[in-house]
């Protein structure tokens, strides 16, 4: 597996071409007084364009919070977030919504699709919302890439979990967002379906120069990424380029060791 992903990654053309998203001095705290929890503590991070970035760390380390802040789903307490050239920390709800609609793709762990819409309608939903026409050639390419051509008229209830996640991936890709965020997109899948989905993500980076940020607990999933950021207690504590599953697992073990000590 790690070999396969290493081969895939080796085709990545060139290096990072600019910054797709960045966090500067980002702090996020929940609650006040005694119940105050600092989920992110002065985080600085750059997400490189055309790269596949994985975020790892122990449970409660702030991975989801970081992703939500980067994606404009949550507000930061202090610090700044940029998506492309846009400073998003002082955008209002309407502008943030528009930003998500036009520049960001999402893949959630579960419940990614609207049950009333069929697969293709789910895929084009963000563009429909924006009132934009989908680029048919691109759409066909995305659909065939994720291998869903014969399932397009199916409702989510008629698709397997893996197929549903593939539809979600296709939706994230279809509108050509500047950046795609996934929070444990393979968390609910068995290893085979998970591998399928990760393959697509990897290929979309390789072939379509897509920028992807993915939160995961699975070292194997992280090995598909170009770069892994390690979070602990709301801080970025380490990073790893061209990771292998074993190296990531090793690094994660050290968190566990620290915790038990």
């Amino acid at each position: 597996m790690s070999t396969a992903s290493a081969i895939l990654r080796s085709v990545t053309p060139g290096g990072p071409s600019g910054i797709a998203a960045s966090a500067r001095e980002v702090t996020k705290a929940y609650g006040v007084g005694e119940t105050r929890v600092t989920a992110l503590n002065r985080v600085d991070v750059d997400i490189h364009r055309g790269q596949f970035t994985a975020i790892m760390g122990p449970s409660g380390s702030g991975k989801s919070t970081l992703m939500h802040c980067l994606a404009g789903l949550d507000t930061v307490s202090t610090g700044h977030i940029r998506i492309g050239d846009t400073e998003i920390t002082d955008l209002n709800d309407k502008q943030l919504t528009q930003l998500r609609r036009d520049k960001i793709g999402f893949i959630f762990q579960a419940f990614n699709l609207l049950p009333t819409l069929n697969a293709i309608e789910n895929i084009t939903l963000p563009m429909d919302i924006a009132g934009r026409k989908a680029d048919q050639a691109w759409l066909d390419q995305v659909v065939s890439t994720v291998g869903l051509a014969d399932r397009l008229k199916h409702r989510p209830a008629q698709l397997s979990g893996g197929q549903q996640q593939r539809v979600a991936v296709a939706r994230a890709l279809a509108s050509r967002p500047e950046i795609i965020f996934g929070d444990e997109p393979t968390g609910n899948l068995d290893s085979r379906s998970g591998a399928e989905v990760l393959d697509f993500l990897r290929r979309s980076v390789n072939e379509l120069q897509q920028t992807i940020v993915m939160v995961t607990h699975d070292p194997n999933a992280a090995s598909y990424a170009d770069r892994v950021l390690f979070l602990a207690d709301g801080r970025i504590v380490d990073e790893m380029h061209n990771p292998t599953a074993d190296a990531v697992l090793d690094r994660m073990r050290r968190f566990d060791g620290k915790r038990t000590s």
Binding site: D74, R100, T116
Partner: protein, 849 residues
């Protein structure tokens, strides 16, 4: 289990709010109706409680009236001085009072009638030795002593702005006359307390103007001490046995009669109000059932867990029903309180319309409280029964499985089969009724509710195609929110159906009534135009007969070319009772248009009878048939049928020349006078007639439009009341829409969060919810309007006997208005749920698992 019920209730109190409101509104309506009618009943009884206190026995002549509704023979036998003297001479009699009383209107200074025409009355002033009448104590001036003098009750004098010495115009059924006001009195007469006017005349003038000289309308007899009323009655009865028409009643009997009458009137009012309360409650059933279905769907796992750990099916059912009973009880208690307010409001509202309505403190009887609480609990439990049974069917294994359970197509299939059978049966019965010649009602009566119930059962299956029709328009107009709204509206057909069904009920009734009303108005207008040549019709506004001199007076007015009195009497034709109308033989063909199917209308001039085709069929008569007319005085006239005319709403089924009628009925009841003018129904002609009839404020002069309106005005007045009543049920239905939408939004939190994450802004989310709400409401409205029109069409067909030319007229403007209103109401009902939806926290709903 009951503890679970209580806990559930408290946990879901927010979501139960609309349900509770719906029950509350329905029960408040019930409570309000009962409180209001009890209060009116009590108040009326109080105001009548002292009547008949000063007499033991009363002899009365119901026919003694110059203008009253007695269309029979005018009294040949009378109550007169001689009768009074004979009664006074009876051993048990302490005193007698001979009363002359009838209708008399009092005009204000603008020549408008004071008070309602039906309670404008007059009586004779009977002074004692001191010149006073203890029954009518004067507060100013003195009682009337001679012709041309009157006294008025204080309220009426105040309304008219009259003072003692003023000239006051009073009118009976002829020209109004000027009189001098000599006194103002007070009275406890309940009719006067109820807003009526009372005019006192001296006995001779009263007799002269209202009856005939020497005649009385009733004699009040007071017994000597120790003589019972019953015994006195037995003494009096033989004295007045010379006419069967006279009634002899004791005060007790009179009081019983009166209280029965009051009770009957308030009872029928209560019935009407309760019928509407029932409709509101019926609509409420849909909401309650819907709420419980949704709550149970949301609680599937919990209930399955209960079953898994050993709860029996019956226990699950009981716990749901217990929850329903609790909600019902609490809401009905609220409804009772609100209902008392409604009762007070109704009383206040009607009081402001009709000043004289008897009022009193609110009567909240224990019966009302018990009924309202019982109704609330029962209705809620009945509504929750089906969901409760369904809840008990949840398999314990559902606790382990995940996800939403899909709607069972099987359940819907059974439902659809039942619905189809009932609908076809109902529509078929209605069809049969419409095509059948007789017993139309016999088919339509059971058919209408069957069809309605069948369609309500079929609503889920109808919802998908019907709402899909609106799809393209919604997408084109509103984009993705429109599309999502449509998809959401059809995703749970049962829920949509229950919500739309509640609206459909109200609109079915409103539409049916509007269509019937429009059709009746249309038919009447056409019938008046087709059968009336006269330009104007002159009649008494209170339904009394015109004075004998009126037709002749009108004939003398400038600009009048022809005139005919329309007289009326209750007679028997070949032994069967019928109303017979008379027209002037010389002029009738210029005033009415008869379409003859046989014979000639001119036969009337030869003293022959004209009959309508209905009577011809039912009595087996044709031109040339002999016809035996039994006059009100018992004499018989042999007549020949001279012609048959088509059924005509404006005329009675048998027409005679006035001369034939007066032969046995010298002073016939004049229903109206038809007038043709040289230049049509001009303002000048109306004025000329008003002048010729002495500007009597009770006489109305109607043109053709007015004649048509007069016929349809009863329909229209009833309709506006019904609209208000049905508005209540529509209000309950709107609560149902709010309820369903709020619950749906709650259930779809994650979806909405996802949509928000994917870039649907708050406006879009709000629009989506409001549109769904509007789509469901409009769907309900369309179904209701279609069903209502169909039912109206059936009902109209049953009216063809009374209105032969009636046809169903769809009031397009009104129907469009209903449709637009339904959409607007849907949007308004969706406002709050839409705000809830737009406020959905994205992260919260994404993280919810």
């Amino acid at each position: 289990m009951y503890r679970t019920a209580l806990r559930n209730l408290l946990a879901h109190k927010g979501r139960l709010l609309m349900t509770a409101l719906a029950i509350m509104l329905g029960t408040a309506f019930v409570a309000g109706s009962m409180v209001f009618s009890d209060t009116v009943d009590q108040a009326t009884r109080n105001s009548y409680s002292t009547s008949f206190d000063d007499l033991s026995v009363m002899v009365s002549d119901p026919a003694a009236s110059a203008s009253g509704g007695f269309r029979g023979q005018r009294s040949s036998a009378e109550l007169n001085e001689e009768t009074v003297a004979k009664i006074a001479a009876l051993p048990g009699v302490a005193k007698t009072r001979a009363v002359v009383g009838d209708f008399t209107g009092v005009a204000d200074k603008q020549n408008k009638l004071i008070g309602p025409a039906w309670s404008a009355r007059s009586a004779n002033f009977v002074p004692d030795a001191s010149g006073n009448d203890p029954r009518y104590p004067m507060v100013q001036g003195r009682g009337p002593r001679a012709a041309g003098e009157i006294a008025l009750d204080r309220k009426t004098a105040e309304s008219g702005g009259y003072r003692v010495g003023d000239t006051v115009r009073i009118a009976i059924n002829g020209p109004a006359v000027n009189t001098q006001l000599t006194g103002i009195f007070t009275t406890t007469d309940p009719m006067v307390a109820g807003g009526g006017s009372l005019t006192l005349l001296d006995t001779a003038s009263a007799q002269q103007q209202l009856l005939t000289p020497g005649q009385f309308s009733s004699i009040e007899v007071t017994a000597k001490p120790g003589i019972s009323a019953q015994a006195l009655r037995e003494q009096v009865a033989p004295v007045v046995a010379y006419s069967k028409r006279f009634t002899v009643q004791t005060a007790e009997q009179l009081r019983t009669e009166q209280s029965t009458m009051i009770a009957r009137r308030t009872h029928s009012l209560e019935q009407v109000l309760l019928a509407f309360a029932a409709i509101s409650l019926f609509v409420g059933i849909f909401i309650i059932a819907n709420t419980f279905t949704m709550l149970i769907a949301q609680r599937t796992k919990e209930l399955a867990l209960l079953r898994a750990i050993g709860a029996a099916r019956a226990q699950v059912t009981k716990s749901v029903l217990a929850e329903a009973a609790l909600i019902g009880l609490v809401s009905a208690a609220g409804g009772l309180l609100v209902g008392i307010g409604v009762g007070a409001g109704l009383q206040w509202g009607l009081k402001s319309v009709n000043r004289g309505m008897p009022t009193g403190s609110l009567v909240v009887s224990p019966g009302t409280a018990v009924t309202v609480l019982a109704v609330g609990v029962l209705v809620t439990m009945v509504s929750a029964l089906l969901p409760a049974v369904r809840a008990s069917r949840i398999a314990p294994v559902a606790a382990m499985s995940s996800g939403d359970q899909p709607t069972t197509p099987k359940g819907l299939r059974i439902r659809n089969s039942i619905g189809t059978v009932i609908t076809v049966l109902g529509l078929g019965l209605i069809m049969l009724g419409v095509v059948s010649d007789h017993s139309k009602q016999q088919f339509i009566r059971p058919g209408a509710p069957l069809a309605a119930i069948g369609i309500l059962i079929l609503l889920p299956v109808l919802s998908r195609p019907a709402i899909s029709l609106a799809g393209p328009a919604l997408v084109r107009l509103f984009g993705t929110p429109g599309k999502l709204a449509r998809l959401n509206a059809v995703r749970s057909p049962r829920r949509t159906a229950a919500t739309a069904g509640a609206i459909a009920i109200g609109l079915t009734l409103v539409t049916a009534m509007t269509v019937i009303g429009t059709s009746v108005t249309d038919a009447t207008t056409r019938s008046v135009n087709a059968s009336v040549k006269a330009d104007l019709a002159v009649a008494m506004s209170n339904g009394h007969g015109l004075a004998a001199q009126v037709p002749a007076d009108i004939a003398k007015a400038p600009g009048v070319t022809s005139v005919s009195a329309v007289t009326s009497m209750n007679a028997k034709v070949n032994g069967n009772p019928h109303t017979v109308e008379g027209l002037d033989a010389d002029t009738f063909d210029q005033l009415v248009k008869l379409s003859m199917t046989a014979g000639s209308a001119d036969a009337l001039k030869q003293g022959q009878a004209l009959i309508d085709s209905g009577l011809a069929t039912s009595e087996g008569l044709h031109t040339g048939s002999a016809l035996k007319l039994t006059n009100p005085d018992g004499t018989e006239t042999a007549l020949t049928v001279g012609g048959v005319f088509e059924n005509n709403q404006q005329l009675s089924p048998i027409l005679l020349a006035n001369s034939v009628i007066t032969a046995h009925n010298p002073q016939p009841f004049i229903v109206r006078t038809l007038v043709k003018g040289t230049a049509g129904a001009t303002r000048a002609l109306k004025q000329a007639i008003a002048d010729a009839t002495g500007n009597n404020p009770v006489i109305v002069i109607r043109d053709k439009q007015g004649m048509a309106d007069d016929y349809s005005s009863t329909v229209n007045a009833a309709m506006s009341l019904l609209y208000v009543m049905l508005g209540m049920s529509v209000l309950v239905a709107v609560l149902g829409v709010v309820n369903t939408m709020a619950m749906s939004v709650f259930e779809r939190k994650r979806e909405i969060g996802l949509l928000r994450a994917l870039g649907l802004d708050r406006t879009g989310v709000r629009r989506m919810v409001r549109l769904e709400s509007a789509v469901v409401s409009v769907f309900g409205a369309v179904v209701g309007m279609a069903l209502g029109s169909y039912l109206a069409w059936a009902a109209v067909s049953t009216l063809s006997e009374q209105l032969p030319n009636i046809s169903t007229v769809l009031p397009v403007g009104e129907l469009l208005l209903f449709l637009v209103t339904a959409g607007a109401v849907g949007i308004v009902a969706g406002l709050w749920p839409a705000r809830q939806a737009a406020g959905t926290d994205i992260l919260h709903s994404i993280n919810a698992s």
